[in-house]
């Protein structure tokens, strides 16, 4: 039977319930969200009162940041109700998710009602993080138990990629397989198959790891800011490090999970051995729980120093006072700053002699030992453990991958020297001469299967195109900033390899060359895409800045021309060019996107023409493209100016779309041409399919000579709009100067009447405007500020 899910019931409208409901709405589900009727509300009271809890939660979600919905209008896909009046409506739903209070008895009684109402075959799941899944199914019908399992989302559900799938012994394998795939392809999550063990995978490993760092912090006599710095980006983990993360999650939650593990997993010796430090208990006892109580390891005072920065105090672990923290000064931190490559950086920090190195080394070795012992207890294989930690805690590498960096054998020996026990299967693996948990082979990434004692392809990963896997064998061409891969079926993929995937001369020449190779050879088409966190942060500002500061106008003109020629080559290539994006798609990255035949956009793509922030206008064809798109939207009798103002504002305010869907609204994406994939790890695969689809009968577009521009009539309206922004203090003098340049290009210059112009004409005036801004002192100040501080300057 092919299962379809289009209507989902979410039972419970707390932060998680609402977040899950919103994400289901994001991906196109019709959602029914129920909660209890507020106490004291009459049976005959109007629906608005009886549904007040759910309504309130949805209203709060619309204001929450980061936004749980791709666009606010998707809230209309969520119907709010209550358990008393509307529970019978779950009979129409294809999937029922329980997200109510973490009390077994209450959950059981709700499931009893659900069992009576649901249609046979409907999937029922719980989002519990602490209650064993099988206990909730006790006493339920056979059909219920066959279709019941745990589906554990992480907060916030839209943004955190992990979805743990936890079947019981009774759960139908078909249901498990379906949700593993549905969670990945439709919900865009990293689905991880878990066993019904305490804390499942992510919390079990993650909280143990955190507790170990807390213990080591005391042992090594380190400060919380030292620990947060060294356990953050230097080792490929989020900026929140360890203590800041604890404040964010809530110290009470961590305490509860840790106590739960100690109680429910009594055989787990490493958990039993770890001792929560006294300073941690002090915080919990004094209700210093973190962000929710405004005070935890850190205390945001709400005051500002003389430079206007907010004053944040940190806990002195010895005196237990919150006090000003000193800037950490660890040799390992300095060392880490010099190393770009994560794996080399981690290794260097791991081997550092100072206490920063000791913390990373000792905590990593404990983690290695711990995960070795947890397989197969919590997971039959190693890769779910890595996937869970990467997707749930935003680590760049999972525990076994960190271990691979050190070497399996070396890591095991060092761990044993620390007194930890390494599980037998790892010992055996080493004895058999395997010194890596993962390896690349034939364009695929393989994991070590401890049962078969061999390397196997990760199931379900067949469709994710991992460019690393092609690196060794399938590179067709490369330079310092790009690699061109053969990803099969006659399709090439151009990967940016520059820092932050910024676009400099190497990328531009690389794109041109890649298109040339595609056109000249026996290739079907080209995908431009990469597996980086961000597709591209935009043009290499350093390069433009250098030429601008040295007033090399001819070189600058040539550089901008190269940019324009490159995007135009994407547009007018004789073979299809499709872009695949994720993360930041800024400036030149956005211009590249707009000029391809189609875009396959990860839902979490943040697309925007942000050039105004550095005192420039989009100069790689972006401003021209907005003029063209405005022109294409005009209809007979259209007054045109509102459309023009809308396009103008988007560029002049450097508006970034906060989701792929919003990028349609902002005019960066075109309905019908570009499409969104919820799971960004499938974007290159889908882009490749798009190339193959477009390739049959592909005809390159004809250069445009028919772009309607409004001339000075349009400019007047845009000037007026810009002037109001200045008076309202939303824009500075210089912003207005830039805005007027944008207006000039969008309107085709100060023509006295409306007329049709060519793309090349618009590109020429766009380039001229760009270069003229490079001669402005305030633009140079903005560029310099961005290069030095990585933040836009308002001047």
């Amino acid at each position: 039977m092919s299962r379809k899910i289009s209507k989902v019931a979410v039972l419970g409208s707390g932060v998680m319930g609402t977040g899950i409901a919103c994400h289901l709405a994001n991906v196109g589900m019709k959602v029914l969200m129920l909660d209890i009727v507020p106490k004291g509300v009459d049976k005959d009271a109007p629906a608005a009162q009886r549904n007040a809890i759910g309504n309130g939660a949805l209203k709060a979600a619309l204001k929450a940041k980061p936004a749980p919905l791709y666009v606010k209008r998707y809230a209309s896909r969520i119907t709010v109700g209550n358990f008393d009046d509307d529970l019978d409506k779950i009979a129409d739903c294809d999937w029922i998710i329980e997200v109510i209070i973490e009390r077994l008895d209450i959950k059981q009684s709700l499931f009893e009602k659900v069992d009576a109402i649901r249609k046979p075959g409907t999937i029922v799941s719980s989002n519990t993080s602490g209650i064993p899944i099988h206990m909730m199914a006790e006493g339920r019908s056979e059909d219920f138990r066959k279709h019941f399992l745990g589906t554990h989302f992480f907060n916030p559900p839209r943004y955190l990629r992990l979805l743990e799938i936890i079947p019981t012994a009774d759960t139908d394998q078909g249901v498990v397989d379906f949700l593993m795939n549905f969670g990945s392809v439709v919900l865009g999550k990293q689905t991880v198959l878990c066993k019904d063990t305490p804390g499942f995978i992510a919390n079990r490993i993650g909280v143990y790891g955190m507790a170990k760092i807390l213990e080591l912090t005391e042992e090594l006599g380190m400060t919380i800011s030292e620990v947060d710095k060294i356990t953050g980006p230097p080792v490929g983990r989020p900026k929140t490090g360890t203590f800041r993360l604890a404040d964010l999650v809530g110290n009470d939650v961590i305490d509860k999970v840790m106590k739960g593990l100690k109680q429910n997993a009594p055989h787990d010796k490493m958990v039993a051995d770890v001792k929560m430090p006294e300073y941690f208990n002090y915080l919990v006892e004094n209700n210093f729980l973190g962000d929710k109580t405004k005070k935890g390891f850190y205390h945001k005072t709400g005051q500002r120093d003389e430079k206007g920065r907010s004053i944040i105090l940190g806990l002195n672990l010895e005196t237990k006072e919150h006090e000003a923290t000193a800037r950490p000064d660890l040799p390992s931190l300095k060392l880490a700053k010099q190393i770009d490559d994560l794996k080399n950086r981690f290794k260097a920090v791991f081997n550092s002699e100072d206490k920063g190195g000791a913390l990373v080394r000792k905590s990593s070795l404990a983690l290695f030992a711990y995960v070795s012992q947890r397989v197969p207890e919590i997971s039959d294989h190693i890769y779910p453990v890595d996937d869970a930690l990467k997707a749930g805690f935003a680590w760049d590498l999972g525990p076994f991958e960190y271990w691979d960096v050190i070497g399996v054998k070396e890591g095991a020996e060092l761990a044993k020297a620390e007194g930890y026990e390494i599980s037998d299967w790892v010992e055996k693996m080493i004895a058999n001469g395997h010194n890596a948990f993962y390896k690349m082979e034939g364009g695929k990434r393989l994991y070590y299967n401890q049962d078969s004692e061999s390397y196997e392809v990760i199931p379900g990963s067949e469709e994710a195109i991992v460019l690393d896997a092609y690196r060794a064998t399938s590179v067709v061409f490369s330079n310092d900033e790009v690699s061109l891969h053969d990803i099969g079926d006659g399709v090439l993929c151009l990967e940016f390899t520059s820092k932050m995937n910024s676009i400099g001369e190497g990328v531009l020449r690389g794109v041109q060359q890649a298109i040339q190779i595609t056109e000249d050879g026996d290739w079907t088409g080209l995908v431009i895409g990469n597996n980086g966190k961000n597709f591209s942060v935009g043009a290499n500002l350093m390069l433009i800045g250098m030429m601008a500061f040295q007033q090399q106008w001819d070189q600058l003109n040539m550089a901008v021309k190269l940019f324009q020629d490159t995007t135009m080559k994407c547009r007018y290539s004789s073979k299809p060019v499709v872009v695949a994006t994720q993360g930041y798609v800024f400036g030149g990255g956005c211009e590249t996107l707009m000029h391809c035949d189609a875009a396959v956009v990860g839902a979490e793509s943040y697309i925007g023409l942000v050039e105004v922030g550095v005192g420039l206008i989009p100069g790689g064809g972006g401003t021209k493209e907005f003029a063209l798109r405005a022109s294409d939207s005009y209809f007979d009798g259209d007054v045109k100016i509102p459309t023009l103002i809308d396009k103008f504002r988007t560029i002049a305010m450097a508006a970034v779309a906060t989701s792929g869907t919003e990028a349609y609204d902002k005019g960066y994406l075109i309905e019908g041409r570009d499409r969104i994939v919820t799971n960004a790890s499938l974007n290159i695969y889908e882009a490749k399919k798009e190339v193959l689809h477009l390739a049959s009968g592909y005809v390159a577009p004809v250069m445009r000579e028919d772009i309607t521009v409004l001339g000075r009539g349009g400019m007047a309206a845009l000037y007026a709009a810009a002037h109001s922004l200045k008076l309202g203090k939303y824009a500075s003098e210089h912003d207005i100067k830039i805005a007027q340049k944008i207006a000039y290009v969008l309107c085709g210059g100060d023509l006295t009447g409306e007329q049709k112009v060519s793309e090349q004409y618009l590109l020429d005036i766009e380039r001229e405007a760009f270069i003229s801004l490079c001669g402005e002192q305030k633009t140079l100040e903005r560029i310099q500020h961005m290069l030095e501080k990585n933040k836009p300057l308002r001047n």
Partner: protein, 387 residues
Amino acid sequence: MYIVKAYRSAVGKAKKGSFKNYRSDDLAVKVIEYMMEQTPQVAPEMIDDVIVGCANPEGEQGLQMGRHISARALGKVVPGMTVNRYCASGLETISIAAGKIAAGMGDMYIAGGAESMSMIPMTGYKLAPSYETAVAQPNYLIGMGLTAEAVANKYEVSREDQDEFAYNSHQKAANALANGYFDKSIVPVDVTEVWVENGQRKEKTFTMKQDEGVRADTSKEVLGKLRAVFAQGGSVTAGNSSQTSDGAAFTLVASEKMVKELNLEPIARLVTCSVGGVDPLYMGIGPCAAIPKALSRAGLSLSDIDLIELNEAFASQALAVIRTAGLDPSKVNINGGAIALGHPLGCTGAKLTTQLIDDLERTGGKYGMVTACVGGGQGIAGIIEKL
């Protein structure tokens, strides 16, 4: 130049109020028909012209709305025109009627204004200024909120004073509603709404007869929490600005000859009406340019004026005008103003005239003044004598 009758619709909240789907031409027809019923001596064909004020005469208010209103309310033979002086339109039309009568060009006019801010955006559908203006005089093109900020800064009107003014406007308006001060001149209008709910066609009819904008329960604290909406770090908020509204108001203006011939009972006389220009950046101070002109034409001084309706486009400009022109605050807007009661642009002048005549009668006053600032940097002041 007598005002024989003056009626208005209740004022609806734009976009969410009772008139959100009620066209302003339809509303005008209702008010004029009602006025004619109250004046049986006047036959439709006696009306020389219908003069309709409207600030955004396009879209639903396009097609020369004045003519459509005259033909529908009074018959094909009665002509009609549309007049635009933005927020002064509804008073300007009365002034035009009076002027025509004084010049001997006619005897009887219906003059007033109608506006649906629910339907027509404030800047119209196509903002298309002159390139020369945009380049050389961009201040001529700015939104009204920014002029209110400019006035607040130049005339040093504090946020607290603006909020207090807004609070008092609501309090006074609530008092007026409670006492039914407006009821006499409000034309009840039956509104029928048809909509779809849960796939079902639904219909309801209700009578709209009370102004909708008043918030009796607002407080200075609530107003103080609102954010500035027009400028970063500014002081002009949604709470201390006028409300966008829908409404219609009309007067019957007649010559002395007609009054006598038909034995009409005039309620007031338009003594004079003046307009003046100011810097468009400080649009809100406009009344200060018009008030002295009107007083001088009328041969009166401020102390002769018993009551003043000063249109509250924004609290900042109303306060700046009161202070600069030296108006006695106790005479100004005794029933609150546009901040509480709404400001249906082109209708407002006639609506305030209607209210002022009623208030003069109720309080036993003789002279009253209607004054307003006008977009683009103008002011209007009309002096009314209660008969």
